[in-house]
Amino acid sequence: MEFEKIVKKNMRKGYYAALNFVGAHDEALELSQQAFVKAFKNFNKFDKSKNFFVWYYTILKNLCLNYLRDNKKKISIDLIIEHKAEESESNPQLAAERNNLKELVQKALFELDAEDREIIMLREFENYSYKEIAEILQLPEGTVMSRLFYARKKLAKKLERYLK
């Protein structure tokens, strides 16, 4: 089935994109799947010469923003970030500091607006190029760079005490 192949190709990206918005594994899985269901129902409207993920991302983003709007008070955020394996630390004190930093960064990220967090996650965690982000968010590349700069600046402000 063509759609099954498309899902299998894009499911990880979809899941991580949802996770960036909602910050909880189960909800991210559910929302990314719901977005695939909606995409399937409207698949006849999808221009097959275009990038499926860009189209799917618009559906997913709307679902996630609706979810955030409707569940403002109920959302519990999982710890979704960790240090890369090569950054592991054998010294217990340094390891504890790193854990602390990880929690601080996650807290700061989820205090940002969904759209600031979105652009940071796309660039810094998922390593999309500016061009790819521009395509996904349907913005000019210059705007992507500028939004990224100001989003990092807001993050720096939230981590001010740590940075000093």
């Binding site: 996770l19 799947q33 695939f36 559906i59 710890l79 890369k84 950054e87 930093l101």
Partner: protein
């Protein structure tokens, strides 16, 4: 204007895309402006912190059952549509049949007959109203293919 140029050069610097000329332009901007230099240091620090982190992977089982879960959702969606359509047809048929029997039955008081007619009419108006609203929302909603 200067800040806009700085941001573009900074981002291109981070992704190693600066040409020689742009590199010297970028460093000259930083050297001649303490505020921009401060911004550069701050952005570098944040980039460095984020570079060491990644998103946790979900349990492997999540991927194994992913497609099946979508398939089940699609299948149930089709089942609900069939059930809803069949229920509407059967209810409509039942209502017409009941209406015929009630209206010709002389033992039923007129008030009950009128009440039954009002009930059927009310349900029909309600269905038409909801259907019309859905139809117009669908026609006007530019994100109709996105969220429903």
């Amino acid at each position: 204007m200067k800040e806009e140029r700085f941001i573009i050069l900074l981002e291109r610097y981070f992704s190693n895309e600066l040409s020689k000329e742009e590199e010297s332009e970028f460093f000259s901007l930083i050297e001649n402006d303490t505020q921009l230099k401060k911004e550069f240091e701050e952005q570098k620090q944040i980039k460095e912190i984020l570079r060491k982190m990644e998103i946790k992977n979900p349990d492997r089982n999540a991927w194994e059952g992913y497609w099946l879960s979508i398939y089940n959702k699609l299948e149930r969606g089709i089942a609900w549509i069939l059930i809803s359509l069949a229920a509407i047809v059967i209810l409509f048929y039942g209502a017409i049949e009941a209406l015929n029997k009630i209206l010709v039955n002389n033992h039923i008081p007129s008030i009950v007959k009128y009440a039954y007619l009002a009930l059927v009419l009310g349900v029909v108006i309600l269905i038409v109203s909801v259907a019309r609203e859905k139809f117009f929302t669908f026609k006007r909603d530019k994100y109709k293919e996105i969220q429903r």
